[in-house]
């Protein structure tokens, strides 16, 4: 089953909505504390020294994020505390809130012992350093 990503701030949505204020009606849909997990939208970059994964995971905290490497698979699980009181009168419920989960398969050139991660402003950045021998080497070619 293909899962949808959570997060409005994907590559495709760069539109600016400058329309008149939208009138809202009570939709009957409440903001949801979701029992299912969400797949965070993520970027992957590479430099000579490392791979980087940046994942949008708003509303969690560094001590609620579990990173686990097993074989060639890196799994990310972030717990998100429920934020809504189900007794509140709801006006707009455009997204649900729940845990984030995603798995990445990583290559053998990643030094899994040295993976580290940082959580800032709702974005998790994981650094996956390459093994020394997997990095590009510069070799001087001398003139004869």
């Amino acid at each position: 089953m293909k899962r949808k990503e959570r997060g409005a701030m994907t590559n495709q949505t760069t539109a600016i909505d400058r329309s008149q204020p939208q009138a809202i009606e009570q939709t009957g849909q409440s903001p949801v504390n979701s029992p299912v997990s969400f797949r965070p939208v993520s970027d992957v970059f590479e430099t000579d020294e490392a791979f980087f994964i940046s994942a949008d995971m708003p509303g969690t905290s560094s001590d609620a994020i579990d990173l686990c490497v097993e074989g060639q698979t890196l799994t990310v699980h972030a717990r998100v505390q429920p934020r809504y009181d189900s007794n509140a009168r709801a006006w707009l419920g455009e997204y649900g809130v729940g845990d984030f989960r995603r798995a990445f398969r990583i290559g053998e050139n990643v030094d899994t012992e040295r993976i580290d991660a940082d959580y800032q402003n709702g974005v998790l950045t994981i650094r996956l350093p390459k093994h020394q021998d997997a990095r590009p080497r510069r070799i001087e070619v001398r003139g004869g």
């Binding site: 997060g7 590559n11 760069t14 204020p21 970027d43 590479e46 430099t47 455009e94 990445f104 709702g122």
Partner: protein, 158 residues
Amino acid sequence: MSTRVVLRPTISRLHNEVDRLFDAVFPGAMTPQWMSGPRPGTTSMPAVNMWEDEQHIYAEAELPGLTPDQVQVSVLGDALTISGNRQINLPEGATVIRRERGDVSFERSIRLPAEVQSDSVEASLRNGVLTISMAKAPEHQPRRIEVRSGDASGAATS
């Protein structure tokens, strides 16, 4: 004179490694469509949740990667406006393997269910979640009316 040569893994091996850095299927994680960002038909950015209690209206939006100085919140009468922009900085010399997140610029105005006191509006951005709290104008707050007993008032005579 010397020439610099950069030795990289062979093309096929590099390709192989890139291919490996993809999602594995994660059992148990699923997302109904309507929970995945804006609902169909509501493409406005950012997605907003809004609720109220007797005295306040609360609005919330997820803005990962933004700092407080990149977000503007304003309230005029019964209209709430949220705007901002996010620029993603790549690490020095990085190449992109997968790009799902975007640089975005947004402005969204939403009509509130009641007028609010603009000097009561408080907004905070914490771990990528913007939370806005607004006190309703006094005339929109429920007023409790004391029910006195007819005997005590002494006014009811016939």
